[in-house]
């Protein structure tokens, strides 16, 4: 089955103080031929300039709002530009651009609206045991609260169709957005598939990763969101 034309696919990423790695990440994704949108989330370094120099379309948040807010901004922007397929990609260099093709192929061949990357179906490089434990707990929590049968709940590498992206309206600005996306996928009743991907943990990405304390804050955020309209 033919993959979507590269012009139909927009790869989006939220970036906050990623000047060290953003140019390489954008160049890696650009090598696949897709358009790249970077939302600079109020960075204090020159993330935006470096992403622009690497030929990404850059959207600048005037203030730091969080990764969830940045992704929603990117989704709104590319939908307005007529995107048919949207891929979310982390800006810290954890993902492989080569996995994008597998996600898009899964959308097409399985007639799904969401293809969710899974490191537990695929592979990881240098994943610390405590991170594996935290992610396993998050998967069980997500399965219980959403009913989705997934193996990886906090993977930023996902692809969605235009219809799928239109069903996503993130209101969790910060890290709880990953769980919120899954809740909205479950609520949308649209089809989803999981696709094996590889996550590469580096000292740089680990320093930006989530801790047990962050996980507790995510649960509180999800709970607080349910208390008001």
């Amino acid at each position: 089955m033919a993959l979507p034309a590269t012009s139909d696919v927009w790869v989006v990423m939220g970036a906050y103080n990623e000047a060290k790695v953003i140019a390489d990440v954008v160049a890696d994704v650009k090598s696949t031929g897709h358009r790249v949108v970077v939302v600079d989330d109020g960075s204090r370094d020159d993330t935006a300039q470096r992403a622009q120099a690497a030929d990404a379309i850059v959207i600048k948040h005037p203030i730091n709002l969080g990764q969830g807010a940045a992704l929603q901004t990117a989704i709104d922007f590319v939908l307005a530009q007529g995107a048919d397929f949207i891929v979310t990609f982390d800006a810290d260099g954890q993902h492989r651009a080569a996995d994008i093709a597998a996600l898009l192929a899964a959308l097409k061949s399985r007639k799904a609206d969401f293809a969710l990357g899974s490191r537990f179906l695929g592979s990881t490089v240098n994943m610390p045991p405590q991170r594996r434990l935290l992610l396993t707990a998050a998967v069980w929590f997500t399965r219980l609260t959403t009913g989705l049968r997934i193996s990886d709940s906090h993977n930023g590498l996902r692809a969605m169709t235009r219809r799928g992206a239109s069903a996503i309206h993130l209101r969790q600005n910060r890290m709880a957005h990953a769980s919120e996306i899954l809740h909205q996928i479950a609520a949308s009743d649209l089809a989803y598939v999981e696709t094996p991907v590889t996550i590469h943990y580096s000292a740089y990405s680990m320093a930006k990763g989530q801790t047990l304390f962050d996980a507790l804050l995510i649960i509180l955020d999800l709970f607080a969101r349910r208390l008001h309209r």
Binding site: I57, V58, P62, T73, F77, R171, A224, L227, R229
Partner: protein, 113 residues
């Protein structure tokens, strides 16, 4: 009697506040109304407070009234937090509009060159 009237006035003010909150945060509104009603009952019928306090192992009715006030304060604090979250959502929408408008303008200008 003066203390009872003062407390009643304050609890009525809380009931008014809770009714305004109800549309944005029904759970918080309900909890506040329930606590304020409980407070009113305890203020005007202290014997109920003493009986209930004995039942739940607090000992004195006046302590139960104090605990009720603490609960009301915590609920109000939670409500304040939720209001700040709602404000943040509005700020996010505004920032997003500005960011997308700027990017769209830049993209159009680039295409026209």
């Amino acid at each position: 009697m003066i203390a009872q009237l003062l407390l009643t006035a304050m609890l009525f003010a809380i009931l008014l506040y809770a009714s305004m909150t109800y549309r944005q945060a029904p759970i918080i509104g309900f909890l506040t109304v329930a606590s304020a009603f409980g407070g009113l009952v305890f203020v005007w019928f202290p014997s109920y407070a003493t009986r209930l306090a004995m039942l739940v192992g607090i000992g004195r009715g006046v302590d139960l009234i104090l605990y009720t006030w603490v609960i009301i304060s915590l609920i109000m604090l939670l409500n304040l937090h939720l209001k700040l979250r709602a404000q943040m959502e509005l700020i996010t929408l505004l920032a997003r509009k500005i960011a997308i408008a700027d990017a769209t303008r830049t993209l159009k200008a680039g295409n026209e060159l």
